[in-house]
């Protein structure tokens, strides 16, 4: 019998959501599953009905849920429909009836921070780097998940180069790339040479600003090297695609996923930092080596990263 999967979120349009949709579509193509995507919109009032409408049918083997604002509705509906299996992506809740796919974005961001700090530390000798010794961060809204990215980024930067300065700003919205670009411009104008964006479409403006200002940017969630070739240092990939794909794969292969936590971190490849080739080619060799070293230490648990909550 065909596996029937639904996914519900308000963020399919944004970076991490895009990677999840990618994974779902790949699973659909590879395994011939039935797939239903439900966009929640942004009104909290709607969520619960949308969940019940899905759960009530009893048709879906798995329902993927992404977005912290949905947590309340998820918990209620999961209690009301105990036989319905939900997969909550990107976090762990109290309920033990739910499958959790937890991402260690702070780990990936830690590496991104370390990379940015190391490159910044090269100083004016390196292309596009000034002597400000400051790196930047543009967040979407100032919400806990984004704060977790920022926390990891800062820790990584300080770990690699203790005296590097991290300038962080928030756009207050995920939908305003113009504002993202303007924020990045402001940062670049203040001696910041590398800006990490965790801001969905707003962040796309950051990438474009890095091209306009001829500075560096760091992508997030998906590979963004193509957004501003030559100006994107790396992307911190949060592999939602891998997560959903692997979960569906288990389901299809007759190993029904059970409630519990699945962690996607540096170790499992759930998060990773991917250097952009064009820039990587110009980097002094010791930097990739140093990054790999830090990565190992994180994987081995030698470096403790605090999660922001």
């Amino acid at each position: 019998e065909k596996v029937n999967v639904a996914a519900i979120s308000g963020y399919f349009a944004q970076g991490f959501g895009v990677s999840i949709v990618e994974g779902l579509n790949k699973a659909k193509a590879d395994f011939g599953i039935d797939l239903k995507l439900v966009d929640t919109g942004n009104r909290a009032l709607d969520y619960e009905e949308q969940f019940s409408n899905l759960a009530k049918t009893g048709e879906y083997d798995l329902i993927f849920v992404m977005g912290w604002e949905l947590v309340d509705a998820l918990q209620k509906v999961s209690a009301a429909y105990p036989n319905q299996r939900f997969v909550f992506i990107d976090g762990v809740l109290d309920s033990d009836k739910i499958i959790y796919a937890s991402f260690a974005e702070e780990q990936g961001s830690f590496i991104a921070g370390a990379l940015a700090a190391l490159v910044e530390n090269l100083g004016p000798e390196f292309d596009k780097i000034g002597d400000g010794k400051a790196i930047g961060f543009v967040g979407g809204r100032d919400i806990p998940v984004i704060r977790n990215f920022l926390g990891g980024y800062e820790q990584g930067a300080k770990y690699a180069v203790p005296d590097v300065k991290v300038n962080s700003v928030f756009a207050g919205t995920f939908d305003d790339p113009a504002k993202g670009s303007e924020l990045a411009m402001a940062l670049y104008g203040q001696g910041t040479d590398i800006v990490y964006n965790v801001a969905g479409p707003t962040g796309e403006g950051v990438m474009q600003a890095s091209a306009a200002a001829d500075k560096y940017s760091l992508g997030v969630d998906v590979d963004m090297c193509a957004s501003a070739p030559g100006n994107v240092l790396a992307s911190m990939l949060k592999r939602g695609d891998i997560a959903v794909y692997s979960i569906i794969k288990d389901e299809v292969e007759g190993k029904p996923v059970k409630a519990g936590v699945r962690t996607f971190d540096l170790a499992s490849g759930g998060v990773e930092v991917k250097l952009c080739e064009d820039v990587a080619a110009k980097l002094p060799a010791e930097i990739p080596a140093k990054i790999e070293e830090i990565r190992k230490e994180v994987v081995d648990g030698k470096i403790a990263i605090t999660k922001a909550k």
Binding site: V38, D39, N42, R43, N53, W68, G91, I143, P144, K309
Partner: protein, 351 residues
Amino acid sequence: MKTALLPDGLTRTLAGQVLAFAVALSLGAVIILLIDENPVTVFMTLMRGAFGDAEKIAGTLLQTTPILICGIAACIGLRGGMFNVGIEGQLFLGGFAAAWVGFAFALPPVLHVVVAIACAILAGAAWVAIPAFFRVRYGTNEVVSTILANYIAILLTSYFTIFLFKRPGGWSETPPILATAYLPELFSFSRLNVGLLIGLFLAIATAVFFRWASTGYGVTMVGSAPKFAEYGGINVRKVGFGVLLASGAVGGLAGGVETLGVHHRFMEGFAPGFGFDGLIAALLANGSPIGTIFTALFFGALRAGSLLLEVDTTASREIITVIQALIILAVSADLMMRRRGDRTGERRWKF
């Protein structure tokens, strides 16, 4: 504002609205066809999603509640000649205030709700007080000041939520309110709560107030003929201030009802657009509170129906947004009442 409709005027209006509906729906059908869906299926699903069973009807009413209360807030303003575009902001502040009372204080059951609602009302009124003051004292256009105040209100509640009162862990929301502050639910199977009754009561009370109360008469006169009202001994400034304050208070109430009745906490950006939906509902009903019940119900049904639509068909909710907009446009044109190029009646440059 239209005065009491004559019977034949009423039929003509109704015929016009039906025609407008038909036009909008056929346009909508064309669009649905364009995205490879069956319009009949879509409309049937919409109906099922809005009125399919008791639960669905309750869902529709649940969606109707905030639109209705915001609509009443708009009606009050419109009747008094004030264009309160800031209902959205008042809703957010009211919602936050109610949540704050709900989680920060322990009070006995009924009292807790009353205090929380009172604070929501107060917050809404307080938020509009400064624009209202400048409006009546210095003539500052209230449309501009309330639009701007919306942005500030939303950012302010986000700040409160995330920086001052965030629930430890996960999402940007306040701690849950205590159960003593919950608005009682009406049915076991739905989150529909007494907020709906509050809204209906408010609509009827407002209608009665404007129809029969001496004060309501004064407000209506200030709205429709301010110089006449002033001449007749009505304190136009005081009434104008009061009207904006009342409108803001009801806007705050809408937020309070949402947090106490449905969400039981305040979340950042929890109810975007209700203020504007309410405003449109009120404008379509021509400022009549009773009419707003129906326009709000209509919007609520569309929203509720669209939730099922997304699950049961491949059409997305945005299609409903599009159809909703088409219907509003068609209905606003009032096809039968004012025919093109008809020069009688109101002069044509008066919009």
